[in-house]
């Protein structure tokens, strides 16, 4: 028999996030420039907008235009339809087994109007993610709750299966919930968000496509311009007035107009010399981009310093497991060339005013010189970086006690704080097979990771400070499997294994499962 203490207050945040945001956020609570998935009115509350969206499965293009109308258009009938839709959801199944099958379509439609909000489901876990911008995100996860093995071990083996079924049935709706908040600091000198370098990128691309810079490109573009203008004129004349052509495909165009005119369009776009000039212009653009080294711009952005903080909490029923709170701060400091270095180098050596404006004196010629430098090439090839990571974890666990006539639990608290100093770099690359006519891609062949960690552990029966150093060599075997060899030194030998008192060695394989999962064995 199992006796439970009064249940602790549970963090039912995943659902609350959705409810709270639905009730309070304006429909366009979003990043400037981002496009909403569903067009709600600018002052329309999400609750109203969602009600309207729930009343229609796939808005037509005409409907799309009507959706810009004020909320006065939301009639009682649509509200009734929304009520019926809500009643149709079997929330009773949203319980111990996290039966998200019925919930998922509802959530998808409910949350679709909030920019940056998304849901995903994998292996019985439902994740609700809200990322209003690339700096801040909230992830709530409803886990598939399972009864803790340590609790089941308190039962006689013959009774274990029945106890597991009974206990699982009695688990609360949200018996295993986690919430994570992440803040990633972004500015023009820190963080890896391209939009923070928008003016720089625009200035460089303007230099690339300036007709005065590339006469050939300009000539080809002129021919293409004439061809496309002619096609626009034909379409304008061919399609009947009042016909709304939205997202037309080529066959739709062919069947909707005068065959002779359509044939002219086809020849302009595809077959004629002018049509060929259109393709040539595009190929000129592709060639000029490739020759400009501008494709390395994103690598320079990816090599910017980065700082982020994660705070996560996992709340579980006592029958399921421990409550865990983790706070993590990370500071990555790449070595070598990056956007900061580009700005600094080209501000000093700029040989021409830049149209991007003052303070952004980076022109294409200087950019190309910067990319061609030996140091930059080495950085792009090896991606060296230092990392400082501070983590604090508090685990409020449960120890199950057989009192003779019942199983009870006692709460115990463990605390662990870690300071990690790390360095990593790529050692070699391998060629991936080419896809279609593309160039073969480079993939990391081997990499080196060095980590020095100081740990403070405060458990019920243990209070310890220890140091640990790890050197890992990872060798790629194929896209899904890596071989890992690691040497570990620790000041407290009981954590190492068998090799030596203070030195341990580990070898193993790391393989990816699916696209996101990862597991290891050794």
């Amino acid at each position: 028999m199992y006796t439970t203490h009064p249940k602790r207050p549970k963090v039912r945040l995943a659902m609350w996030i959705a409810c709270w945001l639905t009730a309070w956020l304006p429909a366009h609570a979003a990043v400037p420039g981002a496009q909403p998935t569903i067009p709600c009115g600018s002052n329309e509350k999400l609750s109203i907008c969602h009600a309207r969206v729930l009343s229609s499965d796939a808005p037509s293009d005409n409907a799309e235009r009507h959706q810009a109308t004020p909320q006065a258009r939301v009639t009682d009938a649509t509200m009734d339809a929304a009520d019926n839709a809500l009643k149709a959801i079997d929330l009773s199944s949203f319980g111990s087994s996290v039966s998200t099958g019925a919930l998922r379509p509802f959530l998808d439609r409910l949350l679709a109007g909030i920019n940056g909000l998304s849901t995903s489901e994998m292996d019985g876990e439902l994740t609700i993610a809200y990322a209003p911008n690339q700096q801040f995100s909230i992830d709530g996860v409803l886990h598939d709750a399972e009864v803790a093995d340590k609790l089941l071990e308190q039962y006689a083996e013959a009774d274990r299966t029945a106890a597991q079924e009974r206990l699982k049935r009695d688990l609360g709706d949200l018996a295993d919930v986690s919430l994570k908040l992440t803040y990633n600091h972004c500015s023009s000198t820190s963080g890896r968000r391209v939009r923070d370098h928008a003016e720089l990128l625009r200035g460089l691309v303007d230099g690339l496509i300036d007709p005065q810079v590339n006469e050939l490109l300009a000539g080809a573009r002129e021919k293409r311009r004439l061809a496309l203008n002619r096609v626009a004129e034909i379409f304008n004349r061919t399609l009947p007035d009042g016909t709304h052509v939205s997202d037309a495909t080529w066959p739709m165009v062919e069947s909707s107009g005068d065959p002779a005119l359509i044939e002219e369009v086809r020849s302009l776009l595809l077959d004629s010399d002018v049509g060929q000039a259109m393709l040539d212009a595009h190929q000129e653009f592709v060639r000029s981009v490739n020759e400009s080294d501008l494709r390395h711009f994103y690598q320079l952005v990816a090599n910017q310093p980065q700082r982020y903080i994660e705070v996560s909490h996992r709340a579980r029923d006592p029958e399921v497991g421990a409550d865990t709170t983790t706070v993590k701060g990370v500071w990555e400091i790449p070595r070598g060339s990056n956007i900061n270095g580009l700005r600094k180098a080209c501000a000093k050596t700029s040989d021409a005013p830049n149209p991007a404006g003052p303070g952004l004196a980076v022109n294409l010629a200087c950019y190309k010189r910067y990319i061609a430098r030996e140091e930059t090439q080495l950085t792009l090839a090896t991606k060296p970086r230092f990392k400082i990571e501070v983590t604090a974890t508090d685990v409020a666990g449960n120890r199950f006690v057989d009192t003779g006539h019942a199983v009870a639990f006692e709460t115990q608290s463990d605390f662990k704080a870690t300071l990690n100093l790390g360095y990593s770099r790529v050692l070699s690359y391998v060629d991936r097979p080419a896809v279609a006519d593309n160039e073969p891609e480079k993939a990391e062949g081997s990499r080196l990771d060095i980590e020095l960690a100081g740990e403070y552990v405060d458990k019920e029966e243990l209070l310890q400070r220890r140091l640990r150093a790890t050197v890992s060599l990872t060798q790629r075997i194929n896209d899904d499997i890596d071989a890992v060899l690691a040497l570990v030194w620790a000041s407290e030998p009981e954590f190492l294994g068998e090799v030596d008192e203070k030195l341990g060695a580990r070898a193993g394989l790391r393989f990816k499962i699916g696209r996101t999962g990862e597991a290891s064995g050794g």
Binding site: G33, R195, R225, N229, L239, D247, R295
Partner: protein, 120 residues
């Protein structure tokens, strides 16, 4: 390379409607957008004036191409640094109140051209 471009059409655009083009935040590569106005004389046959507006697209940033004078042609083209999925590589073209989302999955190449015809 028989068909390298993706074509879309936006009709019913009023004179002077603003054009905004947004490249998805996940896209990586060098992309540009250009717009041409096509104006004709009173009898509607002779092309008398064109204007070109051009801008580089930055992932996650809305680019303003100014007011459209339909009929107009928009061209979006780019070279991918890293080819993602059509859900991630896309442009959203907004002309006035109308909006079209164009997945950039036109071919197996690492470059793309999308053409949007805008007409009254």
């Amino acid at each position: 390379m028989a068909h390298t471009a993706i074509y879309r059409f936006i009709r019913g655009t009023p004179l002077g409607a603003d054009i905004t083009i947004t490249l998805s935040a996940e896209a990586q590569g060098i992309f540009v957008a250009e717009a041409w106005d096509v104006s004709r004389d009173a009898i509607g046959n002779e092309e008398t004036r064109t204007a070109v507006r051009r801008t580089a697209l930055v992932p996650g940033e809305a680019s303003d191409l100014g007011p459209a004078t339909p009929p107009a042609v928009l061209v979006v083209e780019g070279v991918f640094d890293q080819k993602l999925t059509p859900d991630q590589d896309k442009v959203v073209v907004k002309v006035g109140d109308q909006k079209r989302t164009i997945p950039l999955d036109g071919d197996q190449d690492d470059s793309i051209m999308a053409v949007v015809f805008v007409s009254p």
